[in-house]
Symmetry: C2
Subunit: 232 residues, 2 copies
DNA sequence: ACACTGAATACTGTATACAATACGATTCGA
DNA sequence: TCGAATCGTATTGTATACAGTATTCAGTGT
């Protein structure tokens, strides 16, 4: 063992942050099998860091709900698929109330941005899933920011990477895409009319449809964890 | 300096959790001035713990939004009063959508529990602020649990201690108390009728009234985060 | 054969030591 | 006198050593 000077020089970003991102993605991509109990020393060794920044990352992953506290200490990774439908509920709560607030607070510039986004979404080709995902993410991002609630934004951001993956977009058919764009359009119109109630209703419907399509598309298939990290 | 065996024996609960609670309360009660930069070594010394569990606590406080990252590392305590109105927005989002789900999923037993709670709240004396706070917390807790969404429950629990302090109850007048109980009663009725729409509406109104009363009562820094400058 | 008890073990929680950076003060130069 | 650069200090980020508890497995008794 080296003394303890295995420092990473010239790192502007804390180590634990990178660890956090890596683990987060690993869990969401099922590279770490659900229900596995995380062994801190082995994980730290596998990631090439000490236990301290690892624990910092784990602490935050727990607050994100991606891992849960095990009895007798330590953590157990949760199954992100099980919680997917549930996560959409949280999303609907945030965005539904978010557009309600947005109807009161949105600026003319933001409405213009939304209109532009919808137009771009109309013109984009079906095959460009990555572009569609970006547009979709942007749309909802603008909405949440228009609510002018930092807390809502923060909570939403925690969820975003979880539920909005690029691959999800590949499931959409040409028709459902048009329908989604239409719903986006409806929401913007509701906001223009400052009708928070309508915006909320359409948003909930929109998300519900998106969720159903997603769950149906993914089915229950989803190959669990073939390539592993330390399965431990 | 003691060697390093200043251990707290027979502690079933991690040290950092107590630190977390203490700091949380200290910040919410303004015992630590907002905008203070937290010095880890001094804080650790003051609390009688080492930096490790302290940092664990700080990490979570940051995710709660009670402290923010400072430039060049470290943390700065945020002003809980500034974020209080905003926190109520998040709460309204969670509980509004929560009762909507509850209208679909609530069990007969839970409805009975709610009725009982409302009855107890009718009979309780005004002076018993602690009891009223407990009843109020229980009411909303049951509702969120009735939504059968673990994620909603978790997010709500993070918020609960923040916005529902015992002292807040002392602000209520006899009349506003009766009004609040009446609103609780309305919500339960809406749930009995499985009218999620109405439950949502009443809940949002209920929380909005509670928030206004709270901000007005606390007086200072009652600046509503609602009407901010139309930024960009 | 099963249950209960005990020690060994493995792993988490905590403390402390060390490295590196960011900030401030002081000094030198223009 | 003001500005810039450099050194010193203070504070965070990381690594590791240590203490304590939970789990597991072996052994014995009923």
């Amino acid at each position: 063992m080296l003394p303890h000077n295995t420092y990473r020089l010239a790192s502007r970003e804390p180590t634990w942050k990178g660890v956090y991102r890596n683990l987060r993605l690993a869990i969401l991509n099922l590279e770490i099998a659900p229900d596995t109990r995380l062994n801190e020393v082995k994980l730290a060794a596998a990631l090439g860091v000490s236990r301290t920044p690892l624990r910092e990352a784990l602490s935050r992953l727990e607050m994100d709900g991606l891992i849960g506290a095990a009895k007798g200490g330590g953590y157990i990774v949760t199954d992100p698929r099980e919680n997917l439908a549930d996560a959409y509920h949280l999303r609907a709560a945030l965005e539904g109330y978010g557009v309600r607030l947005a109807a009161e607070n949105i600026s003319a510039g933001q409405i213009a941005q939304l209109r532009e986004n919808v137009e771009a979404n109309r013109r984009i080709e079906l095959a460009d899933t990555r572009g569609r995902a970006a547009l979709n993410a942007e749309f909802h991002q603008i909405l949440i920011m228009a609510s002018r609630s930092p807390r809502l934004l923060q909570t939403y951001n925690n969820l975003r990477e979880w539920i909005m993956t690029d691959e999800d977009m590949s499931l959409h058919s040409d028709e459902s895409c048009r329908q989604f764009v239409h719903e986006h359009d409806l929401i913007v119109s509701a906001l223009e009319m400052r009708d928070g109630d309508m915006a909320d209703r359409v948003m909930r419907l929109h998300l519900r449809r998106a969720r159903d399509l997603l769950l149906e598309g993914k089915g229950r298939a989803a190959a669990p964890a073939d390539r592993e990290l330390p399965a431990a």
